[in-house]
């Protein structure tokens, strides 16, 4: 994984000292809150309902075991012993004192981490999928370009006061597991007939109150020109994006008001002016960054491991976990392990310091010391020998992290909601828990792979629009209500879900969701997923079923 050199380290250290000075000036009153606001946001610091929250960047979701231990230490020392992993592969600490923040950032810097641009109207953490580098269907490791883009965007002086936040995601595999289509810029990296790396660039995605999937703006873009093209898009956005209304300021609004072809012309005209100049990437730089993402030294093994097979047949609990958590790996004899952070034993995305430490230990013992954060708020140990899977499971059991529910109903993606967040209009965690608890494990297995996403407000941090079942918390005369969408999907054929009807109260929500999954069970053909059934039969049967006896 990427290790800082003296330049990265100097930048991060100087940034800590710069912010230390800014915090001191805020505390002394020299800086007004209005002046301080964008400075603190661009250093990851939000003011939430009860306290400051710090969002720490985990670039493209990759962590070393030492970094994970560092996060655990921060959770213990500066927070209440836990942290929240987010849908953008970051981690948030919820109970932070302003005066502590420079020291937290200094601690982060000491483990090659930072909180730069995790908030504010700038380019945010560049994300990719949790299985980058190990997925069998991968064409090229997307982390390499994610890191190159991260560096380019970090404290890039022209683009720190954009009309609104700007999110970039990269995927380079047959299946898109990075939700690329809902990003401001989505990048699909592929090899052409001559094996040359090229990008398909999509622009204008974003959820929130006006959800849009991004649209193709540039195809066949040579890899060396990706930075100049992103620069062109950002300059067009910075100059012409709306600034009069926060809710119309994302690039998706600009793209859709101009139309994609007019936007493409603008971006192209700008790009023609700058391409081939200073922003052209070099082979040297690509290989320098790529050399930081070399695979570990894998053993040469058979794909079948007898011990693993034995445990699968003799221990049904282990087998049940493995059927959900063990993911394919490009190297024979290895697997990736998805660790569910979800209900009933956990709160989505939340891990205690002890759990973080355990995962770090497991990564060291069995997995080359590397960990990934998935945008589904789960964690991944990407490189585990099949023969070690049983030991990993046993150890995860001890800290309540061996839930056999990855990809099932109770593996819901849930934002923190009104329990913490200033923006939230409704509670998320307690309601999501009730939905999850309405299903036994057998019922969940019967439903099979499904994504249920619950956001506590229209800002859609839990990406409810692209959940197979999306749930949006609203507030109606002081009471929490939940609006349901169906038919959302992520991946290359992403879709925005459709609202099924009136929002429902917290009490009936679990029943309504269950009515919907029952309608799927009643209508599905063999091996059809929820989304496939939806595509075949449409919204109507679900709509009818949803408000039936159990729900209404």
């Amino acid at each position: 994984m990427y290790r800082y050199d003296e330049y990265d380290r100097t930048l991060v250290n100087e940034r800590v000292e710069e912010f230390r000075d800014q915090v001191a000036r805020r505390i002394s009153g020299e800086l007004t809150e209005e002046e301080f606001l964008p400075l603190r946001l661009q250093n990851g610091l939000y003011l939430q309902k009860h306290a400051y929250m710090m969002r720490v960047a985990i670039p493209y979701g990759a962590l070393s075991s030492d970094q994970m231990r560092g996060l655990a230490a921060i959770a213990n020392k500066f927070d209440r012993g836990y942290g929240h992993f987010t849908t953008r592969q970051n981690i948030q600490f919820n109970w932070i004192e302003l005066a502590d923040t420079p020291n937290i950032l200094a601690h982060l810097a000491s483990i090659d981490m930072h909180a730069i641009q995790t908030s504010g109207n700038c380019v945010r953490n560049v994300t990719t999928e949790a299985y980058a580098g190990v997925a069998p269907d991968e064409e090229y490791d997307p982390r390499i370009f994610a890191e190159i883009i991260r560096q380019w965007a970090t404290v890039n002086p022209e683009f720190l006061f954009l009309p609104r936040k700007f999110k970039i995601a990269v995927s380079s595999s047959q299946e898109d597991r990075a939700a690329v289509r809902m990003h401001d810029i989505g990048l699909y990296l592929y090899r052409d007939e001559e094996e040359t790396l090229r990008f398909q660039v999509m622009v204008g995605g974003g959820l929130g109150r006006t959800p849009f999937l991004n649209q193709l703006v540039k195809d066949n873009l040579h890899w060396s020109e990706v930075l100049s093209y992103i620069e062109a898009v950002l300059r067009v956005f910075n100059r012409y994006g709306r600034r009069d209304n926060k809710y119309k300021a994302r690039i998706k609004i600009l793209v859709n008001s101009l139309g994609i072809s007019a936007f493409r012309e603008e971006a192209e005209a700008e790009w023609q002016q700058i391409r081939g100049s200073f922003s052209t990437l070099t082979e040297d730089e690509l290989s320098r960054v790529a050399s930081q993402f070399l695979s570990p030294l894998y053993k040469a093994l058979d794909d079948t491991d007898l011990q693993y097979g034995h445990h699968l047949t003799s221990n049904s609990e282990f087998a049940s976990w493995a059927s959900r958590s063990v993911k394919p790996h490009k190297v024979k004899g290895y697997a990736s392990v998805a660790i569910s952070t979800k209900f009933p034993t956990n709160t989505p995305g939340d891990l205690t310091a002890e759990q973080m430490q355990r995962i770090a230990d497991l990564a060291d013992l069995y997995g080359f010391g590397v960990i990934r954060v998935a945008h589904e708020q789960n964690l991944v140990l990407p490189d585990i020998l099949k023969q070690d899977l049983f030991s990993v499971w046993t150890s995860l059991c001890e800290v309540g992290l061996a839930l056999p529910n990855v990809g099932l109903v109770s593996d819901m993606i849930v934002c923190p909601g009104a329990s913490y967040c200033n923006l939230a209009t409704a509670h998320s965690f307690p309601v999501a828990r009730k939905v999850a608890e309405a299903y036994s494990l057998e019922e969940q297995l019967d439903v099979g792979d499904i994504s249920i996403n619950l956001s506590g407000c229209i800002n859609a941090c839990a990406h409810h629009h692209i959940g197979n079942i999306g749930i949006l918390g609203l507030n109606k005369s002081g009471k929490d209500y939940y609006q349901i969408t169906i038919g959302g999907a992520q991946g290359k054929d992403s879709q925005i879900g459709k609202v099924i009807g009136p929002a429902v109260s917290e009490e009936v929500l679990p029943g309504v969701v269950k009515n919907i999954t029952n309608a799927y069970l009643a209508n599905r053909n063999d091996h059809e997923t929820f989304h496939e059934t939806f595509l075949r039969i449409g919204l109507e049967p679900f709509k009818l079923a949803a408000y039936g006896p159990a729900g209404a």
């Binding site: 050199d5 330049y7 990265d8 100097t10 930048l11 100087e14 940034r15 710069e18 800014q22 800086l31 002046e35 964008p38 400075l39 109207n121 560096q151 380019w152 965007a153 970090t154 404290v155 890039n156 002086p157 022209e158 683009f159 720190l160 006061f161 954009l162 300059r235 910075n238 100059r239 600034r243 002016q273 200073f278 922003s279 070099t282 040297d284 730089e285 320098r288």
Partner: protein, 165 residues
Amino acid sequence: MKNIIRIHSGDAAVIKSDDWVIAEDVHDTPDPHDVFPMAVWLARVEQGEEVTPAVWIGVNDDPMELQSVIDKLSFIGVFFEDFKDGRGYSTAYLLRKRLNYQGDLRAFGDVLRDQLSLMRQCGFDSFAIKEGKDPYDAMKGLKGLSVTYSSSVSQPNPLYKRVRR
């Protein structure tokens, strides 16, 4: 204008005030240091009237409209209505890189210490610090971080082309 920090040959100095006067429109007492809004100035050029070599660019103005007349200018002010509005950074970039403007480029309006190094990197070489703020204090903001990754007006080569990493 007042409360100015000016960079000259790499060194920054505070100038309490200089002769440039930001004007909203033509007025009865013309001054050779009048800085007119871009649209007013362009209209005068078009009508063949004599103009000062100075304009200011508002947040909604397109600096590319100065392309054919850029040689007539030796002072351009870029107005920051709100420091959180980043259009001025792209304006400066375009003036310096696209129009190859070599004259004075001044940020004025909501211009604050913590953005000065970013402005400098985008090609500004003087700053009229917001009224009520101490320019000597603001000067500390010029330094910024010693490491920058991307290319910028002041440092056209990105880090990976400048140093051996």
